[in-house]
Structures are given as C-alpha cells and as structure tokens.
Symmetry: C2
Subunit: 442 residues, 2 copies
C-alpha cells in the first residue's frame, strides 16, 4: 500500500566533491482514490506566460548596454526583471559579463563606503572583480570586505557577528552599502546584517550560484539558522538591486548546479506548467551549462519569483507556495546537520515527499508523480531523504516551521493539473503519517 522508496544514499563528503548519489526508485500505489480531486480555494496565480511576463508587475526587458569605461567590450544582452514593491521596487539584472560593466553596480551604491560580504570559496574567484566594478572610475568609493567560512553550517549568529564586527571596526555609517557576493547563505546573512546594522543600511545582491540567482537573492527574505531550525531568525529586507552575472556559473561545482535546479523545477510545479514542460525538454542542456538555456531558466524563474513577491511580500499566503518541499527539506537539512546536504538536494527530496502526500490525498494523479520523480532524477537530485531520517526527526523539526499557525502545520501541496498547488493546513493527517513512514525506516 505504501509507496516503496529506496532511500537516496549520500556519502558525507566535503562540499566541493560530488556526492555519491544513488537515485531512488518509486513504486506508487494505484489503489488510492483518485476521484477525490475536489478543489478548494487556492492561492495560485495564473501561470506566467511570455505576455504576462511583460505586464505592469513584471517588467522584463532586454537592452544592449555598453560598458562606459571599457569601449573594447562587446555589448552584452541584458535582461531586467523588476520586483514591484512600490517605493522599495528594484531591478534584477541578468546577463553575461555584467561584472565587467561597472555602471550596473555603481548606480545602486549609496554613500562612499561599501562592505562586500563573501566567503572563502567565492572571494578568490570574484572579489577583485567586484571591487574593480565598484571603484573603476569612482575613486571616492572605498571598499572593505569580510570573508566568511563557506557553508550552511556557518549560517549562524556567531558568523553574523563577524559582519557586524567588520562594519563597526571599519566605522561604516548609515550611508554605506553592503554587497552580498556568493550563494544563498551569503545573501541571507549579508541581507540580515544590512537590515540590522545601525537599524538598516542599503545592500546589493550579487548571487553566484543557480540557487541564489533563481531564488534566494530575490524577494528580501534574509536570516540565519538556529540549532533547532532553519531561517528562524531574520528579516524581510529588500536589496537595492540584484545583479546576476551568468558567467559566475562557470566556476560552480556540478553538485551546486543541480541544487539550484531543484528550485527551478519548483516554479514549474507550483505555478508555471509551460516552464516545467520546457525543463523536461531542456534538462540536459541545463546540466551541460548551455548559456542560453541557463539564462532562460534564470530569467523565467526570476519572473515567477518577482511576481509572487510583488503580490505577497510578507508571506501572508501566496508567497508560502514557493516553499514546496521546503518543510520536509528543512527537516532533512537540520537532521543530517547543516551543510551536509545542499539546500536544493533537501528540497528535491522534500518535493518528492510533498508530491507523495498530495497523491495520497487524491489531489494529483500518478502521471504527475512520475514526471516529478523523473525530472529530479534527470537533474541528478535525490528523490528521498537520507536513511538516518526518522519519522520523529521530521516531526520534531517540522513543529517549529514558520508555517505553523496556532499549532497547525500548513503545507504546500500540489492539487489538480500540473502547475497548481495549495497552501493549507486542511489535510488528512493520516496522509502525512503515511508519507513519513513510507520514506523513513523508523
């Protein structure tokens, strides 16, 4: 009766080695009642088509911009996606070679002092380039930097304090600008530090991973982990701009690439069926780092994210749907120890669990279950939690999830045809128990 899920086995390894992934196999029951696909009110918005992507909320434009200080450069095709939040609106610039064009950054720097927050992996690759982009032809600006250890396990208060220490020792004032240079951990920590330093200074996101470029750098969710749960301490705090230089993906390890694709897949599942179909056809190109495929996936992901954030900045409803698979995934990240599984790996396994539960509830049919398993396996992502996870470990961490309200855990579950989901606490608890037992040995 229960779905059999061969657990994804991950050898604990250092971050920049490729993990030993043993793709899971799913055998879904066919006896579950599929006729119970009644719909209740969904927070879902219409899927984003090419036309709606250019409406008043999402302004995606392409422009050829010359680097004013380097006439030798070739003009670069740049896409701009606007996050529409009234007087806190900001652009997401997406393109190749943007870090060679100082104007993009410099137009968003306030004051004369900048603090770049980055990590030990990214600093040797891009810190000099960013400092150059901030200061070229702009001698009045001085740049400090703080280089943090790399990994989710350092997304904590102790590490955050190093940012404050550096900012205060450098005597930065309220007119300074923080720049987050790195992946999601750096962006979340730098953003939270910017929100709290002197009660708030400006900041800029320069995401260098797919994960950060398609998801975490956009929308102003910042924060750190607590030993008992992920992202439990933080702020909603929007950047001045997000600058995505797709060239930075050239140095990204394969495992990190795949991790980011988990969030790309998410957008297709929750609200953009057309994008999901595109991903099914183009996954090989994404994994092969085809520049145009990556650029399209990033742009379309940002358009989806920007639209959701514009409609529901503080996550009163719709925005929560971006967390498909995240409640199970956060439990995995916490359970195996922060940094052992990448965020997207945990989200991938969590997505499979959410899809399994949706199927048990009779809310989706088995063909969608299969497509989700297939695309995640194609992307070389795990499709089940690690063997050490127990039912109790899941329940313990999920009890402190931010989506708990008055004791009730609300989840994002798929419901209906591809591209539809609900955010709800109104589900049969037996389905969750069954899902947990199906994916855990104890």
């Amino acid at each position: 009766m229960a779905s059999a899920a061969t657990n994804f086995s991950l050898s604990l390894c250092t971050k920049h080695q490729t993990p030993i992934l043993k793709p899971s196999f799913f055998f879904y029951p066919t006896t579950t009642n599929n006729n119970n696909n009644h719909f209740f009110k969904s927070n879902k918005c219409p899927s984003l088509s090419a036309s709606t992507a250019r409406n008043s909320r999402i302004c995606a434009t392409s422009s050829r911009l010359m680097d004013p200080s380097a006439a030798k450069s070739e003009p670069t095709l740049t896409t701009t996606v606007l996050v529409d939040l009234g007087d806190r609106s900001y652009p997401i610039y997406i393109g190749s070679g943007l870090l060679d064009q100082p104007d993009y950054l410099q137009r968003h720097v306030h004051g004369k002092r900048v603090l770049v927050v980055t990590n030990k992996t990214v600093a040797p690759l891009y810190l000099d380039k960013v400092v150059d982009a901030l200061t070229r032809g702009n001698p009045n600006v001085s740049v400090e930097s703080v280089i943090l250890p790399d990994g989710e396990q350092y997304k904590d208060m102790d590490t955050l304090m190093k940012v404050f220490d550096k900012a205060i020792e450098s005597r930065l004032d309220r007119r300074c600008t923080f720049v987050a240079l790195g992946g999601g951990v750096i962006g979340d920590m730098c953003g939270f530090a910017a929100s709290a330093f002197l009660r708030g200074v400006n900041f800029i996101q320069i995401p260098t991973t797919v994960m950060a470029q398609v998801d975490s750098s956009v929308g102003g969710k910042t924060g750190i982990n607590h030993s008992l749960g992920k992202n439990l301490i933080g702020a909603f705090y929007q950047p001045q701009c997000v600058l995505i230089d797709t060239d930075t993906l050239n140095t990204l390890p394969d495992r990190e690439l795949a991790s980011g694709i988990a969030e790309v897949i998410k957008y297709g599942l929750i609200r953009d069926a057309e994008f999901f179909v595109w991903q099914e056809k183009n996954m090989q190109a994404l994994l092969a780092r085809d520049p145009s495929a990556l650029a399209y996936a990033i742009k379309r992901s940002c358009e989806n994210k920007a639209e959701v954030v514009s409609l529901d900045e503080k996550e009163s409803g719709l925005r929560a749907t971006l967390n498909l698979g995240h409640t199970f995934g956060h439990a995995i990240e916490n359970g195996v120890g922060y940094g052992q599984w990448l965020h997207g790996e945990a989200v991938a396994a969590g997505t499979v669990m959410a899809v399994d539960m949706s199927y048990r509830l009779g809310w989706i049919d088995d063909s969608l279950v299969k497509r989700v398993g297939d695309i995640l396996k194609h992307a070389k992502l795990p499709t089940a939690p690690p063997e050490i996870m127990t039912v109790d470990m899941f329940k313990s961490v999920m009890a402190v999830d931010k989506k708990v309200a008055d004791g009730l855990l609300r989840l994002i579950l798929l419901k209906g045809p591809l591209g539809n989901c609900v955010f709800t606490g109104d589900y049969d608890k037996k389905a969750m128990d069954d899902t947990l037992r199906a994916f855990c040995k104890s």
Copy 2:
C-alpha cells in the same frame, strides 16, 4: 576661557543602591560672543500646546474605562496618545491601574501564544500580574516567559539569543505575541527579538521605568549594543501598543526615577519650552513621585515623542533631535562600561556637554546654560562625565555613532531661545575640541 567643570563623581555601585553623586559646579565664561546667534534651518516643529496635542497626528484623549472583569475596581482615568504611522499606528495607554484591566492588553494580543520578556528585578514584582492580565477570562491564551539578567551590560547578542531559544523551544509561531515587561533594555531587546523571530511577530510594550515610559518604549527603535558602541545592531519595529501603568513606578529606585527624568528634560529643551518651564516649577513634585505630576510628565513626553516619530519614523532628520546629549552620553556609557552609569545619567552629562558646545558656538546665551545645569542638579543628575573619560575615549566611541554620515559626525545642539535645536554637522570643530577638553582631564 574654558568652562571649569568639577567632574561628577560616581562610586561604582550595584544598580539598586543610590550612587554617591557629587553635583558639579559650572563656571561659564562670559567673554564668548553671544551676538552670533544666527539661525539656520532647523528641523524643529512647533512646541506642542494643549491644542496641538489634540490635532490629527496626536490624539490624546481621556476616558473612564471600567475593568469588565473586576467590578470592584474604581474607574481609572486613562489617557491615550496615538502614534500615527498609517497602517502601523498604535495607541499609548497611560494611567494608574491599567494592569488590573485586562481588556487593554488582550485587545492587542494576536494568536493564542504569548512570550513575556522581562528581567530578574521586574519579574518578581509584575510578572504574575501581567500573566493574569493576559489570561483572565481568556483561557485559550497560554503564556511563556523568559527572565533575563538586569542591566545595560546584558543588552547584547548572547542575552538576545536566550529570547530566541525560549521562543523556539516553546514552539511559538508567527501568530504569537511578544510582551516586553521592564525598562528600556528589556523593551529594546524584546522589540528586536520580535522583529527577527520568524522574520517578525507582534509585540507589546509594558514599560515599568520612567525612562521607558517617556522615551524608549515609544517609536519602534529596538536593538542591542556592540562592544564598540550602543544600539549599533537593531531594527525599526513598531509595537501593537504601549501600556503604561503608572503604578509600576512605585517600586522604581530613586536613581532610576532620576535617570528617566533626563529624557523628560530633553523634550523641553529641544522642542517644548512650555514643558521645560513646567518642569522647572514641578521638579520637586516629580522627585517626590506626585502621581499627577508624573502622569502629566509622561503624557506630555509621549505626545512629543509620538509627534516626532509620526513625522520621521526612520530618523532621516527631525527624529535625530531626540538624541540631544546622547552622542556624548553613549560614549560615557561605553567608556565606563555598560550598566555602570544609567542611560539617563549619561544623557544628563552629555546634555551639559552639548549645551556647553552650543554656547561656545554662540548659538545660545548663558542664561540657558545655567537653567540646564540647575534643572539637572535639581533632578539629582550628573552634570559632567566621570573622571575616567578622556578626550580620546569620547572621540573613539563618537566615531561609530549612528549619526556619522560619510565621515562627518552630526550632533544635536541647541540654537536660539529655549525649545529650539538643530541637527547638524556644520559646526566649528574647535568648539567640540574645547568642550571635550573642558570636561576631560586628559
């Protein structure tokens, strides 16, 4: 030429002993050019008169409210001052016995879970009373509490983490409410914790010191200290309401009472001459804890604070004027060690220094200098920094003040007749050096 200032001598003592204060004596030069009282653009608003206090921004009303669950209680005269911030507006309730009237608190509690943040001094006095006010006739609400050590020296990240630990261990969710029960340190820390827990939950201020009732609980400035400076990490985050039960002042030590009066005096100096004159006449009544005098001083202070906050929530200009004496004062607090001098004591000495500097600049006349010294001495507040403070100690801490902008330290200085001030970086640096040298032995 320089003013001679006999230093205020404070024996380091535990917080609830009365410090040995040796009031200072000021001898101001009379040779400084007093004809240079030119005015430049001031951020000052008109003084708040009884009529303007009832305008659209400040809604101060008195009402007799019956405690619905305790018919034996006498009706209590309650004043409500509104902080007008659009959809984040909130009331300040001021009156005797408000904690015996549960409706005031309960109408602002969101969700079913409450976390009271208080300290070891206040908890034995008022925690049970507050828990009763939260739960009487309201059995669905459950209350947790976290009791922090008492004192400015604990306003740090380590102590703040205890609030997060308790909230997470108690499995509080986004619909919970934090309640700050205590003085300024508790209010600032609880507010910052509320701003960051799950990226923001509701909170209520129940200030129990004059300092917190007239100043720190109103206006949404929250935060903690860093070893290098005060309030350098925090957030602008507004409460749902401020509940001032003036009965809580009955247990306040004399030294704490005087400390709060320093902020009351500030309002008169920067923007409310009529209030300052009232204070000159009523200081003895305030020190004797005359209930009607205290209630009036609290109400009028809150009206001033509410008006300033409504006009400039994020301190782009006008709000900074509330920091008269605070830049020098923060340096004193840091220099002697957090918690050794109370905030208002340091502000009092800092105010004398700011007034001295204003006089050296020719911006005020010597009669105002004398009135400031007199009222502070009358309030048993220090009128000079402690002897250990050196010019370098002042300059070092003042360099990381939040009012530094692009390297320039902006100060609040008096200019013109009583009730007028400016917030400016445009002053003769020699005046500051002269002031620092006049008040420091080295």
